[in-house]
């Protein structure tokens, strides 16, 4: 929806030219969305790790005697050893492969990123390669896991200067996305990737097939709304698209307000009860006029233009 609300994406829009020569608009993901996605992913990883650990303990038949049995050369010992190996492999994979696995998929996003509606893309407009995904995720180790484990160990002991150094280190990487315009973190910089919004929009209904839009005739009151050239000339594309949003949202108070504003502007007497048909007719005729002019190469951005 963000494209319908330009103010929300101000400063984050980038244009990328595809090989077909289409200028494609990308919106760089907001730092908030990325932080939320990361928090969610870390929570998922923690749950996977804890879940796997509990499951393996359960399979091992309880925590007790694990240490002594694992050192025996019996069949039970071998089985326990195998479980411990499995545990090491699983922990390593959850920590290092979780992000890579999902970002290499067709969505280019982890579960957290999907929930936040964002994804990874190559910054140069080319393919997103496995090497890029690898590079950006290997750097996560110093950006995130190392300072976290350092801070955890520092908070327990009296590390003094080392603790302060760890905090400074952590801040350098955490704040890294705040000091460049594309919100790149260090891993993105190394890999040549960025995180962009992944659009998911429904196709909204056609606006010009109702009777009010077609003929300017209201179904409820039978009133005919015909607007002259002068009455349509007051507004531009910006107002048209605001009107489109108001019509699609179809909230009564908003319709009344906009109806009044337009009537005042074009010198009509605002009645009540038929706002929607009036606005539909005005919308269709204004859009017809603006689109006709557009084909002639004349554009009117807003009411000031």
């Amino acid at each position: 929806m963000s494209a319908l609300y330009p103010s929300l994406t101000a400063g984050r829009e980038r244009v990328l030219v595809t090989p077909e020569g289409i200028a494609m608009k990308l919106v760089v993901a907001s730092r908030g969305a990325r932080f939320g996605a990361l928090a969610l992913d870390l929570a998922i990883i923690a749950m996977l790790q804890i879940g796997t650990t509990l499951l393996l303990f359960y399979i091992a038949g309880g925590v007790f005697e694990l240490g002594t049995k694992a050192l025996e050369k019996s069949a039970a010992g071998s089985a326990l050893q195998f479980l411990v190996i499995l545990w090491f492999a699983a922990m390593f994979l959850f920590r290092n492969a979780y992000f890579m696995f999902f970002e290499l998929g067709p969505r280019g996003a982890t579960w957290g990123k999907r929930a936040a509606g964002i994804r990874i893309a190559s910054r140069d407009g080319g393919r997103l390669t496995p090497e890029m995904v690898l590079a950006r995720n290997l750097l996560r180790d110093i950006e995130l896991f190392l300072p976290i484990s350092f801070l955890l160990s520092a908070s327990g002991g009296d590390m003094g200067a080392a603790g302060i150094a760890a905090v400074a280190w952590f801040l350098v990487f955490v704040l890294f996305p705040c000091f460049n315009k594309d919100a790149l973190r260090a891993g993105d910089l190394i890999a040549g990737t960025w995180v962009v919004e992944a659009p998911r929009r429904r196709l909204e209904s056609v606006m010009s097939t109702t009777r009010a839009a077609q003929e300017g005739t209201s179904v409820t009151t039978g009133a005919a709304y015909r607007f002259g050239e002068k009455e349509l000339a007051v507004y531009g594309e910006y107002e048209l698209q605001t009107l489109e949003r108001v019509l699609r949202e179809n909230r009564h108070e908003a319709l009344v307000t906009v109806h009044e504003a337009i009537c005042r502007k074009i010198g009509w007497d605002p009645g009540a009860g038929d706002e929607y048909a009036f606005l539909e007719a005005y919308y269709a005729q204004l859009r017809a006029r603006l689109e006709r002019n557009m084909r002639m190469g004349v554009r009117k951005a807003d009411k000031w233009g």
Partner: protein
């Protein structure tokens, strides 16, 4: 919903549309819907479950919808439709130009030439890292030789069981030989792997700070080795210690060398981008270094298996050297000897 109209009522809808731009949209909507359905399915599933005709139709539909978008931008002021098309074209673009190779294809290309090529590309960094590692080992040795108390700060406590300055020849000899019956070795190997892999990922990632911390990490790790070499040398066991460590060490140290060199490669690209923009230099170096790192992780798996099994099964120094040096020869041959034509490797 306009999207679910049948053809007959669809035609009526087109006639009913008051605006030329809406008629344009209604005429093409079926294509857009079909593309969206394919895209949605591809995003949700693995590629294998998509019917062939949809896979074939994807690039064609993508171009059709992209051209719809171009036309709509010039002729339509329907913000919702434009936003929908922008989004749909973008999603399709991600798939059409997305990572097309599956994991198996990537692995084949990676092992068949991508990895050796990336290793050769950072040869200069490998030389620097090698020099730093040798220097690190020498520093470790010399420090402990001048003052044995250094041993305790250089060697992590997990190795200071029996292996401490002043230990007798027998005790040290026993740490190298006769451990055949020790259980839980495979667990130890798994632990070593995840530990070493984390260390080498660290060595790589630290390269971001101009490569200097990577080099410090190499010095620190090799100083440990140097200190232990001094310890065994004192009891005349240096040759046997060399065999003991070479079984997995040639692979593991090689892997750590490559990880440090990969980090250094990135650090150098950021510090000295040359004629390229810093961002571009960093991204190019980063991808090359990441390829090397994928190889490093695989080497560490091999190293852990050698350490966990081969070292205990081969209980004599000559046999151990044979394994260690063969592994070294295999890695060198693979990385530097295997020079296919670049066309074939790419």
């Amino acid at each position: 919903m306009a999207g679910t109209l049948s053809t007959a009522s669809g035609d009526r809808a087109i006639e009913a549309a008051a605006l030329r731009s809406d008629r344009f949209r209604l005429e093409r909507e079926a294509d857009w819907m079909r593309l969206e359905a394919i895209v949605r399915r591809m995003e949700a599933n693995r590629l294998g479950k998509i019917p062939d005709e949809d896979l074939l139709a994807l690039p064609v539909l993508y171009r059709t919808v992209a051209s719809s978008l171009s036309v709509a931008r010039e002729t339509s002021l329907d913000a919702a439709t434009l936003a929908y098309l922008e989004g749909l074209v973008q999603r399709a673009w991600f798939l059409v130009y997305g990572p097309r190779t599956g994991f198996a294809a990537w692995l084949r290309r990676f092992l068949g030439g991508g990895l050796p090529a990336a290793v050769r590309a950072i040869w200069f960094d490998i030389l620097i890292a090698l020099a730093v590692m040798v220097a690190g080992a020498a520093v470790g040795w010399l420090l402990v030789a001048s003052d044995p108390s250094w041993y305790y700060s250089l060697v992590p406590s997990q190795f200071t069981d029996a292996r401490v300055p002043g230990a007798s020849r027998e005790v040290l000899h026993d740490t190298l030989f006769g451990n055949k019956d020790e259980a839980a070795l495979s667990v130890f190997a798994a632990y070593l792997f995840s530990n070493n892999a984390q260390v080498s990922i660290l060595a790589f990632a630290l390269g971001f700070a101009f490569g200097i911390p990577s080099l410090m990490l190499l010095v620190q790790n090799l100083a440990t080795l140097g200190a232990m070499m001094w310890l065994y040398h004192g009891q005349g066991l240096l040759w046997d210690f060399g065999g003991w460590i070479s079984v997995h060490g040639t692979t593991e140290l090689f892997a750590i060398l490559l990880a440090g060199a990969a980090g250094l490669h990135i650090g150098r690209a950021i510090a000295f981008p040359g004629s390229r923009a810093v961002m571009q230099a960093a991204a190019e170096a980063g991808r090359r270094a990441a390829t090397v790192m994928a190889g490093v992780v695989q080497m560490l798996v091999v190293a852990a298996m050698l350490e966990g099994f081969a070292r205990q099964l081969v209980d004599n120094t000559a046999g151990r050297y044979t394994i260690g040096l063969s592994m070294l020869a295999i890695w060198c041959g693979y990385f530097f000897g295997l020079r296919r034509s670049d066309a074939g490797a790419a």
